[in-house]
């Protein structure tokens, strides 16, 4: 009895979602009319982090806050703002954390420079082994 009832009861139990009752913002799930502007907005959305889901971009996320951020991006792009300026606006509020395209700074320098350094070391090692082969 218990075995059959429990799954049924679990199906009935509503998950405690911390979501509001308001519908999503107008531009959260609606594309801009101008395809060029929409493309700009989309490209930007894929490089912005959803703050409440943290592993997803706002373009990929179903979270309400991501919806509001998409609406914000579309509104600003529709008003003629450049994607870079929208990104800067968000970075000024949430730090570099909000962008998946981290700007070059002394904190991110290893990130950008490490591959070059590795390539350099690789080339140096390869040169050494090729020399030995010649002999």
């Amino acid at each position: 009895m218990k075995r059959t009832l429990l799954p049924l009861l679990l199906l009935l139990a509503a998950p405690a979602l911390a979501d509001s009752n308001l519908p999503p913002a107008a531009l959260a799930n609606t594309q801009l009319k101008d395809p060029a502007l929409e493309a700009k907005a989309r490209d930007l959305m894929y490089t912005l982090r959803c703050l409440v889901c943290q592993g997803q971009s706002i373009a990929d996320s179903d979270a309400e806050m991501a919806g509001d951020m998409r609406a914000l991006v579309r509104q600003r792009i529709a008003q003629g703002e450049s994607p870079d300026s929208v990104r800067r606006w968000l970075v000024a509020r949430y730090g570099d954390y909000v962008t998946y395209d981290p700007p070059f700074s002394w904190v991110t320098a290893p990130l950008w420079l490490a591959p070059l350094v590795m390539l350099g070391i690789g080339a140096w090692l390869a040169r050494g082994s090729f020399k030995r082969k010649k002999r």
């Binding site: 509001s20 009752n21 308001l22 703050l51 309400e64 509001d68 914000l72 968000l90 509020r93 949430y94």
Partner: protein, 175 residues
């Protein structure tokens, strides 16, 4: 090649191992701090959402006395837990303004009737636009605003009873 150079890859491995172990042992900190702390409140103007209570605009903060800006919502459970602390702060003479995120008038009226109403003004932030503009990433969050309208601190999560004296002291210091 000198002999000690042989140890270099091993040392590099130990270093990498130490970094990874340190990263794994350290508890993950997933709070996102606002980068607006230390800066003036950005310009905004929100309509009221509860009849008889004014809306909220950034102009209300300058010049004045240090105040709290509470970002909350009637659909947020920790906001209920925080309500008694906000009432205690109000009793201590603190002025509290609020931004209601994605909320409706009836739901908010019920919330205030049930949990108390410590707010002088409540702004209707239906697209989280003000929340986003001050660098808040959830509810509840509370911003301490000084007399010049500058954000001096961000409290993330609900205010617990033992946070109250600290908040009072910081508001007094900002005078």
């Amino acid at each position: 090649m000198r002999r000690w150079l042989l140890w270099l890859p091993f040392l590099a491995f130990v270093l990498l191992f130490a970094v990874v172990t340190f990263g794994l042992k350290k508890p993950a900190d997933r709070t996102i701090k606002s980068a607006m702390v230390g800066k003036p409140l950005p310009d905004f103007a929100l309509a009221g959402i509860v009849p008889g209570k004014p809306g909220l605009s950034s102009r209300d903060f300058t010049p004045g006395k240090p105040r709290l800006l509470n970002v909350f919502a009637s659909w947020c459970l920790p906001c209920i837990a925080e309500a008694p602390q906000l009432m205690a702060l109000k009793q201590a003479g603190v002025e509290i303004d609020a931004v209601a995120v994605r909320d409706t008038t009836p739901a908010l009226q019920e919330f205030l009737a049930r949990n108390g109403d410590p707010y002088a003004r409540i702004g209707d932030d239906r697209q989280s636009s003000v929340q986003l503009s001050i660098g808040s990433s959830g509810v509840p969050e509370t911003f301490l605003i000084d007399a010049q309208g500058k954000i001096i601190e961000q409290h993330i999560g609900d205010i617990r009873a033992d946070d109250v004296p600290d908040i009072l002291a910081k508001l007094r210091a900002a005078q």
